[in-house]
């Protein structure tokens, strides 16, 4: 059987690299508990996310994993999230207790960011029913700062979040997405009424919910600016979100993936105000104007033109979407023509990460898949589904090749997050599986040269979240990367930027477009290491 499974993966010769699940040997022992009930609550289908963060500033990315647990939430140990400390030797240690983390709500996502610019990364956990904001005390422990920060009143089915400095004041503001309004769920029955056998209901049977945007004030209190920001009329069934400056005007725009509802693209007008350009931008629907089952989302320059493109993982019978940025806030649907969309048609996509898996200088894509139904109706479609690895040929055209044994086995994939956990310069992937074990897909094998960057903001937020980095290689090739906090499905990734350089051995010039507006250039970055770059104090003319 093992031989058969291995045979399903592509031969090593077809693959620039191989991914191997090393969670067990790394000590990442965690099994997600969806808290299945006979009533089949929608929340049980969600799975959970995870966040990479270096909470103790030791240079190694640690991992926070969200647990769901019994439903309705009972605040017991079954629902305890976990923080795993990266020991730097390929192993992790569970430090949840030691770190003072006691989230036993029915968990959804995790989003790490240094919201108070104190140099210690903090952590937001989204839950069914609200959020918890953990402040990093800088001594290996966290303190619940939810009430103090004004977020205790957040209610509802909170799913995705994203951090971004929407008003350019140097502090990270917070977007919160909510899924459906499930308060009337007890009035619904889905499944076979004659036998009483239930199945999960579809999202369109529930009302949508309003979005939430909070401004991070100088007093450390987050205030709801949803309505004055122009987001008050938008009601979605949101599962994915990313702050990304799509039109390169220096302000982070907001993209939200919605389930069976139009996706939202809010253009940041400055001054904390947004305009809805979802439809006119072409990012709200598929090419035929149909809403899709949007789950995870990410942003990155897929075709090397310097413009951030958008991608969305979608439900079964739909392509995963690749919205190619044409500039000026206009996109074209390149899902079919690029080969990005088709491999996902018979899968239910959730986690979606853009990553340069082989360090050749272009962004590839990882998709975690898994059905929401216990018994999917369509013949041949299973609940557990294998993940996808889509290889970019450098021009934004993709080919799916499952590289490594990690792609041979099927799971009910949900959140996924990327980090270079072993600091070897290639991206590894953590995957949270609904009702299944946590996976750590280590990137093994030959790959190109690389150079990493850790941003340290001064006028900008401390981590440089929202920065755009353009690396020019000795051959003149330009690589654009984005510093994000919150992407994929219910997850956040390593904030450091890694440039895959292929055969080239250095970055000739790195230009950083900081969220503050400062444009900073750094010459001659050597390959094979991470470079800590502090924001200069003044803008370069």
């Amino acid at each position: 059987m093992i031989g058969l499974l291995l045979a399903l993966a592509a031969a090593p010769g077809d693959c620039p690299t191989q991914f191997v699940d090393v969670a067990d040997r790394a000590g990442l022992v965690f099994t997600h508990d969806p808290g299945k009930t006979p009533e089949h609550h929608m929340a049980e289908t969600m799975g959970s996310g995870l966040a990479w963060l270096d909470y103790d500033n030791d240079g190694w990315m640690d991992l926070y994993v969200v647990q769901s647990g019994p439903f309705p939430p009972s605040k017991g140990p079954r629902a305890q999230d976990r923080l795993f400390h990266n020991d730097g030797d390929g192993r992790f240690t569970d430090v949840t207790e030691k770190a003072g983390l006691h989230d036993t709500a029915y968990g959804m996502g995790a989003y790490a960011a240094d919201y108070d610019n104190d140099g210690w990364v903090d952590l937001l956990v989204t839950n069914w029913g609200g959020v918890i904001l953990y402040h990093n005390e800088g001594n290996g422990t966290f303190k619940d700062a939810t009430a103090k920060s004004g977020l205790a009143g957040v209610a509802g089915f909170v799913t995705a979040a994203a951090w971004g400095d929407v008003d350019g004041d140097g502090r990270l503001d917070l977007f919160l997405a909510r899924y459906v309004d499930d308060r009337g769920e007890s009035k619904l029955f889905c499944g076979d009424a004659a036998t009483g056998q239930r199945e999960y209901c579809l999202p369109m049977m529930y009302p949508g919910t309003p979005l939430l945007l909070y401004r991070n004030g100088p007093d450390g209190v987050f205030r709801d600016i949803t309505r004055p920001a122009g987001l008050g009329d938008a009601s979605g069934r949101a599962l994915g979100a990313v702050f990304v400056d799509v039109d390169l005007d220096g302000r982070p725009d907001l993209y939200v993936a919605n389930d069976e509802t139009t996706n939202f693209l809010f253009h940041n007008l400055g001054g904390g105000r947004f305009e809805d350009i979802s439809i006119v931008s072409g990012t709200g629907f598929d090419a035929q104007g149909n809403p899709q089952g949007g789950m995870g989302t990410d942003a990155g320059d897929l075709d090397g033109d310097g413009l951030p493109d958008l991608v969305v993982a979608n439900y079964e019978n739909e392509t995963n979407e690749y919205y190619r940025n044409l500039g000026s806030g206009v996109f074209e649907d390149a899902s079919i023509s690029s080969g990005f969309g088709r491999p996902g048609v018979n899968l239910v996509g959730f986690g979606l990460n853009l990553l340069d898996a082989d360090d050749d200088g272009d962004l590839d894509a990882f998709v975690a898949n898994g059905h929401t139904f216990e018994r999917p109706a369509r013949q041949g479609i299973t609940r557990a589904q294998r993940a996808l690895l889509l290889w970019n040929d450098g021009t934004g055209r993709f080919r799916e090749v499952p590289c490594g044994p990690a792609f041979a086995k099927a799971y009910v994939g949900r959140g996924s997050a990327v980090a270079d956990f072993d600091n070897d310069g290639d991206p590894d992937i953590a995957v949270s599986n609904s009702g299944g074990p946590l996976q750590l897909l280590r990137n093994d094998g030959a790959h190109g040269h690389w150079a990493g960057v850790q941003l340290v903001g001064r006028r900008s937020n401390r981590q440089g979240i929202g920065a755009r980095l353009v690396a020019e290689t000795p051959s003149g090739r330009k690589l654009t990367r984005l510093a994000l906090a919150g992407n994929s499905y219910l997850s956040s990734s390593d904030p450091r930027i890694v440039f895959g350089l292929g055969g080239e051995e250095a970055i000739r010039r790195l230009t950083i477009f900081w969220p503050s507006g400062i444009v900073q250039t750094v010459d001659s970055l050597a390959a094979g290491k991470y470079h800590r770059i502090e924001e200069t104090e003044t803008a370069k003319p």
Partner: protein, 450 residues
Amino acid sequence: MRGLAALWLSVSLASTSPAPEDLARAEALLSRKDYAGAEALLREILRAEPRNARAHGNLALTLMPQGKSRVRDAVDEGRLAAAFAPESPEARYIYGLALRAAGRSADAAREFAKSSTLAPDAIGPLDALAEAYAATGDDRAVPAYERLIALQPGRSRYPLELAGYLWTTGQTERGNTVAAAGVERFPNDAPLRAAYGRALFEQQRDADAAAELARAVDLGVRDAGTLSVQASALVQAGRIDEARSALEAAVREHPDSAPLRLDLGRLYLSQGEGEPARRELDRAAALAPQDAAIRFQLGRAEEAVGRLDEAEASYRKAVELSPSLASPRYALGRLLVRRGRKEEGEKELAVYQSLYSRAARVQYEGSSRGAQIQLAESELARGDAAAALARFEALPEDAEILTGRARALSRLDRHPEAVRALERARDLQPDAPRIEALLAAERARVPKTP
């Protein structure tokens, strides 16, 4: 009708008619479809012998084909036939036929049942009974069809109809079992295989559907509709190359089928093959110039290959042909924006947005309501009629909700209220045989006042 008359004639009915020759002549006229002549003769016989059941029955058969205005008279004649010969299966059968023609399915089923009881091996009444039960969603259709299958084991029609009934009433697996047994018994019955294949496709059993439809096609089912479903099943099963081959062959076989060319063009488009898609859809548009969906897909193909002027024209044509179709509006608006005509594009997109918003609201309301009804149904199914009734009563009233309320009330022995609910349901949906059947059954349950 010829078959029905033959049944009447074939069974010996104790007749005391003084004019058997006249009756035979009338029946001959009836079998020749000389309805006016038959009617005149039968009325003459009945003037002489008003209680002649055979004459009343034949008169009913004569009136039924003469248009809607005569159906009421046919019912009256059928009733008289049954009244004067209550133990005659033929009289009951004919009365049932008249009732069915009058749209009184439940009453018709009652008469067919009586006829079938009196003549258990007669095919006609049993056939009509099974059909009547099936039309009203009455599960007694199942034993009726099973008996027909036992009586006529060489006919594939009955397994097909039984499977069809089971599929439409949500008894999917039972339907599949019947259909599978049918195709095993009649392996070369193309319509049966085609129907089974279509049902499997509806059930999202795409690989099984593709296999069954392939057998049907091999057996000679070559209509464009079946070929289209076969290709769709292959697409859904992820067998794109086979779907492409099947559709290309289908188009060769039906070169004038615009729907098949549309299917093929869409398949090419889904695979990123813009130029073949454009060619195919161009031909489809020539065959069906008024088809908005084809124009829209043609526009997509033209856009995919960079023929933007033509794409714009195709989208505009699609919008003109079907102004309420959302997708062409979206595509046109998006294309205009991409071409730098933002203001013009935004106007189209605004129309699209209003169409989309409306459709989304309808979808939410419809699906949410459906799940609420299902909850009440599940409570009814597990015997908690009071809970089901409360659920139905909380939902906005329409024929479906009223029917649900009535079923719950009936379980609670509140039959007069159930009758009233069903009467309101019938007022809202006058031509629903199922409501008629439930109403008839419910009325029968109302206790008689002394």
